[in-house]
């Protein structure tokens, strides 16, 4: 199957799963997805859990507490179905990320590919430098930095980021012009 075919298959599967509300079907889907993951099943399941636990966990606990507060029985059916659906959809996404090259899947459009490659490569660089800024603030502060210092650091990081992004745009434009792109 081509990368584009896999992309379409992923979107179709996600669409079908989003309609499922019966825990049995969702559990069967999760089992099938884990089989598809093969040897990566444990790693991908962990990533899917980590990516969704903050939101799903907060909503699930709040709904459980809400039911208890109103004197209703615990919503076990909802808890099972909603959490299985969220986990299955996240697992499918991480399986897609692990197995499919998105850049090849979108290669049918030259300009979209250019845009994606430029945006993703710059994003990675900017994100790495921001992480270094954060580490720099920690290493410069013998005690945890106060709110004023953290605010100043955030403002400097945002300013640097915008400066870098505009410089990147300028440099990419010059590089494209010199190579005769779009001509």
């Amino acid at each position: 199957m081509t990368e584009r075919g896999k992309f379409v298959a992923y979107l179709m599967t996600l669409f079908i799963v989003s309609w499922l509300t019966a825990p049995a079907w969702l559990a069967a889907g999760l089992g099938a997805a884990l089989i598809l993951c093969g040897r990566d099943a444990g790693r991908l399941l962990r990533r899917a859990l980590l990516a969704t636990v903050a939101f799903s966990g907060t909503v699930s606990l709040a709904y459980l507490a809400h039911s208890w507060w109103l004197g209703r029985p615990p919503p076990l059916g909802w808890l099972l179905a909603a959490n299985l659906r969220v986990l299955l959809m996240a697992l499918l996404t991480f399986l897609f990320i692990a197995r499919v090259n998105l850049f090849q899947a979108l290669a049918f459009s030259r300009r979209l590919s250019f845009l994606l490659v430029l945006a993703v490569s710059q994003s990675m660089g900017l994100r790495r430098t921001l992480a270094e800024f954060r580490l720099g603030l920690h290493s410069r502060s013998p005690r945890p930095a106060g709110i004023k210092a953290r605010y100043r650091a955030a403002a400097h990081a945002a300013a640097w980021l915008l400066d870098r992004a505009l410089a990147n745009a300028h440099e990419s434009a010059q590089a494209m012009q010199s190579r005769g792109m779009f001509r």
């Binding site: 509300t21 909802w78 430029l118 660089g125 992480a131 709110i147 945002a158 992004a165 505009l166």
Partner: protein
């Protein structure tokens, strides 16, 4: 915290995809009309900046932090369509390359944050900048965060009404507007103050940089 896939019912995300697709097609046409060796890197860099801005932590009292969206800043400085297309690309990249957020929540985020937030921010900025540029940027940043929070609270709170079983129990997001509106609006009204402050700082900087690159 991004809404993962599975909490928004297809009865909502499908029509939202229809609306978003129309706006994406229009936005792509507008951007493509003058998409060349200058505009393409611009859009890519705006996307990258918008993506990276979400990693800038906005410090809150008590040692915690929230994250900047940058929608107000992008809309005030580069216009609604550039902000909308850049924000939509960011949501797509986050969902499809990092598994952050979701494919079914993408149109809600794109319409609420990328379009409505950007439109309100740009409108407020244009209306107020003749009186005071700093205040206009501040309010653009604030509304660029607050309005999307309102729309997302409305969309989440509508889930129990849109998708429920025979006895009325919710099938997707379980809380109604009585919970979602205060839960999202109160913190975002306060977070908007920080976003506004960063928009003032960033807006001034972008203008200076634009002048520098124009003369380069």
């Amino acid at each position: 915290m991004h809404i993962p896939d599975g909490f928004i019912a297809p009865q909502l995300y499908l029509p939202l995809y229809g609306i978003a697709a129309g706006l994406w097609a229009h936005g792509a046409k507008r951007v493509a009309r003058d998409l060349d060796e200058t505009t393409l890197p611009w859009l890519a860099s705006l996307t990258a900046a918008s993506f990276a801005l979400s990693f800038v932590a906005l410090p809150l009292p008590g040692g915690t932090s929230a994250h900047v969206t940058g929608v107000g800043l992008l809309a005030a400085s580069f216009g609604v369509w550039n902000a909308f297309m850049a924000a939509s690309l960011v949501f797509a990249i986050q969902a499809l390359l990092f598994g952050d957020g979701g494919v079914t929540t993408l149109p809600l985020n794109a319409l609420a944050m990328g379009f409505a937030g950007a439109l309100a921010a740009r409108g407020l900025f244009l209306a107020l900048r003749r009186f005071h540029t700093g205040l206009a940027l501040f309010l653009a940043g604030w509304i660029g965060l607050f309005l999307p929070a309102l729309l997302i609270a409305l969309a989440l709170g509508a889930q129990p009404l849109i998708a429920h079983d025979a006895v009325g129990a919710p099938l997707y997001f379980p809380f109604g507007w009585a919970v979602t509106l205060p839960a999202l609006l109160i913190p975002h009204a306060l977070l908007g103050l920080g976003e506004g402050a960063l928009t003032v700082l960033g807006g001034g900087l972008i203008e200076r940089l634009r002048r520098r690159y124009r003369h380069d």
